[in-house]
Amino acid sequence: MATTTTETVRLTIDGIPISVPKGTLVIEAARRVGVMVPHFCYHPKLKPDANCRMCLVEVEKMPKLQTSCSTLATEGMAVRTATTVVHDAHKSVLEFILANHPLDCPVCDQGGKCDLQDFSHEYTATSRFIETKRIFQKEYFSPLIETQMNRCVQCLRCVRYCDEVMDVKALAPVGRGTMTEIKSFGAHPLDCEFCGGCVQICPVGAITSRLSMYEYRPWMLKRADTVCTFCGDGCQITVQTKDQELIEVNSAQGAGRNSGDLCARGFFGFHAASHPSRVTHPLIRRNGVLVEATWEEALEFVAEQTNRLKLAHGPHAFGGLITGRCTNEELYLFQKFMRLTIGTNNLDSSARYGHVNGVQAMRMVQGTHRWTVTFEDIVQADVLLLVGTNITEANPITGLKVKEAVKKHGATLLTIEAIQAAVGTISNISNLSEQHFCVAPSQFGAAVLGLLKAVVESNYVDSAISQRASDYVLAVSQAVQQLTWNDLALDTGISRESFVQMAAALTGGRRVVALAGQTLLRSQGSYGICLNLLDLLLLTGKLTAQGCGFAPLAEENNDQGAVEMGAVAALLPGALDLTDQDARTQIARVWKEDLPLAAGATLIEMIDRAQAGIIKGLFVIGENPVGSLPPQIGAKEALGKLDLLVCQELFLTETAELAHVVLPAASAMEKAGTFTNTEGHVQAVRPAIDPVGDSRPDWEILSAISVFMGAPLEYSEAKEILKEIRAVIPGYGSLGPSPIPPAVDRVAVDRYVNEGYRQDLTTRYTLPARAMRPEGTVQLGLVQSLFHSGKLSTHSKGLLQIEPSGFLQMNPVDAARFGLETGDRVRLSNGRGEFTTTAKVFDRVPEGLAWFPDHFAQAALRLFDCAVDPDTKVPYCRTASVSVMKTT
């Protein structure tokens, strides 16, 4: 891709003068004046390859026709695209491309959106080809992707995309000449990231999706531009439907934060919402069984019970949990319902599982609850530090931004990840890094402390901060002096020299972005580690500089929105403190009523209070504490004691099975609203289909309950709630195609360096206890898979074809130690219980660790214990020490 500078050149295209940045390709310059030069192999995301020869143009003073996709615009250039010579050239190249192309358009899924069809029509292409067309043996390609190599025009867009953008390299042109076909490396079905990029980028029908094969013609489909509901990246997707049926998902180059890129979840995971096991009618528990009821019956029951319990036990006998998959409007209304209609601050969302750690650290140090950088800053960064992101699996599209920064712009990538740098079927970010520290999640903290020590000892501390906050710098310096290089090396396996080298790279960067991912945010002590990372940026002068910042990644699509809407116990809308008097006044003015002041219970506290009989009624929206928390926490017993458990759900989850009332909720494919992605960009969600069965959007349900309770929160549509959100949080909502990040709040930074750091500095600057792992055990970790997101994706038929169940993934060395091979049954056990599964040898797993995908971990949860963060109340329950035994 051409790099653009501020320098411009002037040229003419068909006589039209235009000025473009130096480095612009002629084909792009032409596009800007509205001249579309036909092309197949050119794609703005890819490096020019100039292989299809379709985009030939005449350039004055050049002896031959030039391919406009590989020619840079220069000063004074005169380009002609509409001459007879050019037209004849286009027609002749088209004749060549059509020569071996089968004319099976009537049954081709690309028919109607095919570049070859369109250009053939435009040039009224005829063919003098009377020879035999080339025929490829039909080969099985993969369960999700179909290839028809006879249709291939060998433009290699798919191969180049797979390599240049995805860094997966799963595809290759095999054979030569006319017999070149696109295949996966090796004689096996395609095994890759299944991002669907090859399907989307193919200009003809050579690579298509099997999920929608032979089902439709493009013009029969209805389109809805919305936002993906899996991870926090917030990709824009176009959902294509036919008669209320989900057919296909696409994305458009240049649109949304993903600019056309998707991952397997986004491209193949869309069926999750239309799974046949959706709850489609309200259910009420009668004589111990959930039976179908009408909405009126269900709502009346909920309202009556709620009013009765409230009268008897007061508002604090209630709690509420909501998933970060809901829209901002729903999250907002949920907390308003809990705070106003019920009258309690006992409310929490899935952001509590980890995202709150990153947000609270940002609020503490830089006074913002959002990133101060955007995806563009990641792409433009010259140094990127990734800590515990597991980025390819957890946030694939943010991962692409990192790949773009490294591969296209030559950024220096530094990674502290629990991943071995092994080449595999999916891309491994550590293979792109300049320096990679492979450490267990329990030692992320030690690795960050090592960097801080290296910065202090190598005098990399920014002079401005030394002058401005000498006490703070001194305190940090003294704290890191307490640590010894020997201990650090024992904990992390990393030498002083390596730490100094990474610290030097970090300090030398001009635009530095530090990304913290779910592996870090959900590990014990993560809040402190996030603060230490912010210290690292602050000390090296990278916190406040242009293009620099700290970026904690959200796991669920609207975790960030949940925090900003105040759907967490301690925060009001706008992510302001519950005790913030100005915020309270502002909200009370809009709500026309005062907010409860008593501090609310968080997720784990609510479960404890339910267990103790203090909380009697719980509203659960899309959350599943029984299914996602280890049994040690006792969520099942606690929720079993409730007098009223109301679940608004898509599916009958483990939690919903305990409910007194289950209200069928509409999925994000069926409702309107907004999501806020991990960078804090608010994007519109639009319905693609009508609500399934009798289901309704969660906001409508909450509104209806409040009406039945006699304290109505009435809205006619989601937009009306957004209007109210804007009254509470000025300016909230979509603000154009890219986010405008907040600046670091200098006052907050001053507060932190003068005072704030003191409260926990010594605790944070202590090395985590070195875990002595007994012989015969491994550290089991619940990890995020690229092919799933939470439990929602396990209802998607497409994704289940790629990954139908969980495997225990283990390093070859460990596997050999336990005598395990891929496919062997393995029993994991510890003091808390045991769990049997199938092993898979995987060289990406670091030695001493074993991975199991979180999405299938239901039965494994009993092995895990839970520690709660004293500051942020985040439950840490993702790792456990287990004995491994081969079994039959």
Binding site: K64, L65, A89, F96, E131, R134, G177, T180
Partner: protein, 121 residues
């Protein structure tokens, strides 16, 4: 010029259309397949030449051959495409009667083949 700087010595009386086909087959085999005109063009040219040599050609083929060669020339990524059309271009220029003779033979054979069929009507 038969396509490269090398000198090829052929016996007097060599069938030049056959020779052009052999050279074209070489270029077809060597075409890497990256760019469309060379990849598709060389395969097309070889098939047409084989038909002509096998006495299944027709007069329009000669015009098509020239067009195809001109459409490859100057439009490929590398000079291989330019070189690949040389055997056909130069044999057509210098030994056109040999092509014509082969095609006339084909047409004569076709005529014989067609006659009984035509008689049935």
């Amino acid at each position: 010029m038969l396509g490269s700087g090398g000198v090829t010595v052929m016996e007097e009386g060599t069938d030049m259309v056959w020779a052009a086909l052999r050279l074209m087959e070489f270029f077809y085999h060597e075409s890497c397949g990256k760019c469309s005109p060379c990849r598709e063009g060389s395969s097309w040219l070889v098939q047409t030449m084989r038909r002509i040599v096998a006495k299944r050609g027709q007069m329009e083929d000669l015009e098509t051959l020239v067009h195809l060669c001109k459409n490859i020339e100057g439009r490929t990524v590398c000079a291989f495409g330019d070189a690949s059309v040389a055997p056909i271009m130069s044999t057509l220029k210098h030994w056109r009667p040999e092509y014509v003779a082969l095609i006339q033979a084909a047409e004569a054979a076709n005529l014989i083949k067609l006659e009984p069929a035509a008689a049935r009507h």
